[in-house]
Symmetry: C2
Subunit: 145 residues, 2 copies
DNA sequence: TAATAGATGAAAATCATTTTCAATTAGGCT
DNA sequence: AGCCTAATTGAAAATGATTTTCATCTATTA
């Protein structure tokens, strides 16, 4: 997702692309891990000084509502964010280093249909995450940075 | 999960089965919905007066670590709990009334193996939840109680 | 029944998140 | 290029959730 696409999407929703938001998007894009608001704030302070934690919260809200980020639930808890690739996908989270790998072929349609038939629920969406250890963390003892 | 089984499991871990914990387990067992600590506290206050919110937090921690409860992530956010039936299972959450239905045949083994092969991750566990509307909420407009 | 490790409740402390508000700025429009 | 306006920002305060502390109490085991 390039800068132009992001700018266009924000504009379409009446949001502005400020330097602070750019910086936040950059930090998230350059990290392989899922980051909490506090993580992002910490990474920003070392470079872009002057940015406020409140701004990070507000930017995350805007970016998530615009479909540019997604949340990770498993592992450390909630409220941690990732850059979102286009389309439906799921996460594979490493509990050693926190790295997140995406995969998209979840093939839950059959299961969804079966569950729908059994329960009568109309299913809107699903949450699927795997938790494990990445190859590097299986080998050595890398800790979360 | 009967009272005796619960008592035994707590004992095995060095925890005690107090009247407060009994009451908390009872509230959770009798609800079809997932309950936050504050929800549980509110339900308890109307009957078992004198119980503290702190005790609810501590009891939830103990019960979850003993495998008697599980968390629900989708929907209202995190930190809401359910009674746990034995064994591996997943949740189907109604976004109308908050009701949670379990299902156990997730059949993710194939997918797990494929993801393992592609990424080299060793997968420990997964999180799978469906969000939708239950039959009653599709018909009428029942709101969360 | 006594001993004791674990549990409780109230208050205070901590941590995360949201609100308020005055000042600033991005983006659209001349 | 410069103006307008609605959106955004940062600091501080407010709120809300969760944890810690500590003195007291109690469930369990001997």
């Amino acid at each position: 997702m390039t800068g132009k696409v992001i700018a266009a999407e924000l504009k379409r929703r009446g949001f502005k692309l400020t330097p602070q938001r750019r910086a936040i998007i950059e930090v998230i894009s350059h990290s392989q891990e899922h980051l909490t608001p506090a993580d992002i704030y910490a990474k920003l302070k070392s470079k872009h000084s002057g940015i406020g934690l409140v701004t990070v919260y507000r930017a995350l809200d805007v970016l998530e509502r615009s479909g540019m980020l997604c949340e990770v639930h498993i592992g450390d808890g909630c409220r941690s964010y990732l850059k979102r690739p286009g389309g439906h996908h799921h996460h594979l989270v490493c509990k050693g280093c926190g790295k997140v790998v995406d995969f998209s072929d979840c093939e839950l349609d059959d299961l969804e249909q079966r569950v729908t038939k059994e329960t009568g629920f109309r299913i809107d969406r699903h949450l699927l995450e795997f938790l494990g250890r990445c190859p590097q963390c299986q080998a050595g003892r890398r800790e979360k940075s």
